[in-house]
């Protein structure tokens, strides 16, 4: 499992990986916003956490279809699923999700404070948003793995994966943004939505790989 994670990270860091594209897309979404709604710094600061979340969500969805595609093309996916005596398909998917998040999700979290500065956000808001993104983006990868596995055999699955996964990530977005605002605005609580966000991540960490493993097995039959 560790070997698989290391291998996937190596592949992800090479030129073909989606890491840089994801960050650039995130940057593009955030830069477009001030042009769309006007450069009012107070307004930008107020809607900043929500925009960072939406941008990160879109960037994460964009990279999902690459999760199994490269391995399917060179045939190594079949080998990974066939090696069932080593570990169950769900564990294989889990390892691939961890590697995928480390190469595409974590960079988004790391650049989000910089983009927060662009949105004129306060330090507390930036910290809270980064923390909630750190806790929430793995959920997007885990549940997105199911969508990617279901659509793995399709030639142009990218948009379809986003459409299928979107309903499932809406709760993640709701609680993530709620917690980010809870840290800044006084009456709203921070701990409760943040814990619910963590619960969602753990829940999807079990459900996503199990379903994705079953879907990959079905696709291989």
């Amino acid at each position: 499992m560790i070997a698989l994670i290391v291998r996937d990270i190596r592949i992800g860091l090479r030129a073909g990986g989606g890491m840089l594209i994801g960050i650039l897309f995130f940057l593009a979404v955030i830069t477009v916003v001030p042009f769309g709604i006007g450069p009012d710094l107070n307004l930008l600061a107020r809607i900043g956490p929500a925009l960072l979340w939406i941008g990160a969500l879109l960037a994460a969805l964009l990279g999902l279809d690459r999760l199994f595609q490269a391995d399917l093309e060179d045939g190594s996916l079949d080998l990974l699923i066939l090696r069932r005596h080593d570990h169950a398909p769900a564990l294989t998917v889990f390892a691939k999700c961890v590697a995928h998040w480390l190469t595409t999700g974590l960079p988004l979290v790391i650049v989000s404070p910089v983009l927060g500065l662009l949105m004129n956000m306060e330090p507390a808001a930036i910290g809270a948003t980064t923390l909630t993104l750190l806790a929430g983006t793995p959920a997007i990868t885990f549940i997105g793995a199911t969508g990617a596995a279901v659509a793995v055999a399709l030639p142009r699955g990218g948009l379809l994966v986003s459409v299928m996964v979107l309903p499932f990530v809406i709760p993640v977005l709701i609680f993530g943004v709620m917690a980010a605002y809870g840290a800044v605005e006084e009456p709203a609580p921070f701990t409760q939505p943040f814990l619910l966000l963590c619960a969602l991540t753990l829940f999807f960490a079990v459900l996503g790989p199990l379903a994705a493993g079953a879907a990959l097995k079905a696709a291989g039959d």
């Binding site: 549940i143 199911t146 969508g147 596995a149 279901v150 659509a151 055999a153 399709l154 699955g157 379809l160 459409v163 299928m164 979107l166 309903p167 499932f168 809406i170 459900l207 379903a211 079953a214 879907a215 079905a218 696709a219 039959d221």
Partner: protein
């Protein structure tokens, strides 16, 4: 030998795995289902329009007789798909996949009906067409899930290959159903909590409850009538597709001398 006896006498659902047998059964059942839904819907509509007005809501309470059954059926439709998905994944029942494909558009239509009537009801009562409260949002997510299932089915040419991925997607989406049901209790929402299906009995007055129940049964029968028609259509569509493929194969062999010589 009990084993051979089991094989010789398959259960009812196993017997239905033969599409021709299913077409036979459903052809006999369909008129009765259609008649029952017509009678119940006519009676329900009559009762709905002759029911007393609500003392607060006036005439607009009649929207309830469409809105509530549609919302119930939106959830029941998803459960029908979920059970069919289990049928596909566990027993590999060939008709379970046909059932999912038939349910998805019908369920999406009922969900849309619930959302649209709810919006029409919300304007006079709440003063707004739409609010992002927990119940409305979760039902909207249900609508998106129906659309996702339909999109995935459409994306794959071969219905046999599409069956298992679609079933897995449907099962994952079942998580949303309890969220819809309990959204009005877990969060304080604008939408009212359940008033018919409760442990301590319905809190709605009998003069309003009876038309609602008749309408609900009428809608349920309508759902199963449409479901059965859609399943029969889908079975025939697949037959035509496979006949076309076989016909094309024959044509190719007949017109191409090289293939004909090879005996293919």
């Amino acid at each position: 030998m009990s084993d051979t006896a089991d094989i010789a006498k398959p259960g009812f659902f196993t017997g239905l795995a033969n599409p021709t047998r299913f077409l036979g059964y459903s052809a006999r059942l369909l008129p009765w289902l259609a008649a029952a839904s017509a009678v119940l819907l006519v009676a329900g509509l009559f009762m709905a329009f002759s029911a007393p007005q609500d003392y607060q809501q006036g005439e607009t309470v009649r929207i309830m007789y469409v809105h509530v059954p549609a919302a119930w059926l939106a959830m029941m439709g998803y459960m029908v798909m979920a059970v069919s998905a289990l049928g596909t994944l566990i027993w590999r029942h060939p008709l379970a996949d046909v059932s999912i494909k038939a349910t998805a558009p019908i369920g999406a239509a009922f969900t849309f009906l619930a959302l649209a009537t709810g919006s029409l009801w919300g304007k006079p009562m709440w003063g707004t067409w739409w609010v992002w409260d927990a119940r409305l949002t979760s039902v909207f997510v249900l609508f998106l899930m129906y659309l996702g299932v339909i999109a995935l089915q459409r994306a794959m040419d071969d219905p046999v290959k599409a069956a298992r991925p679609v079933a897995i997607l449907v099962l994952i989406g079942t998580v949303n159903i309890p969220i819809i049901k309990f959204s009005v209790e877990w969060w304080n929402t604008l939408h009212q909590p359940a008033s018919v299906i409760r442990l301590d009995g319905p809190t709605i007055h009998p003069s309003l409850l009876w038309p609602l129940l008749v309408m609900a049964f009428g809608f349920t029968f309508l759902f199963f009538t449409m479901h059965m028609v859609a399943m029969r259509t889908e079975i025939r569509r697949r037959r035509i597709a496979s006949m076309r493929r076989a016909g094309a194969q024959e044509n190719r062999t007949a017109t191409n001398p090289i293939l004909a010589k090879q005996g293919r």
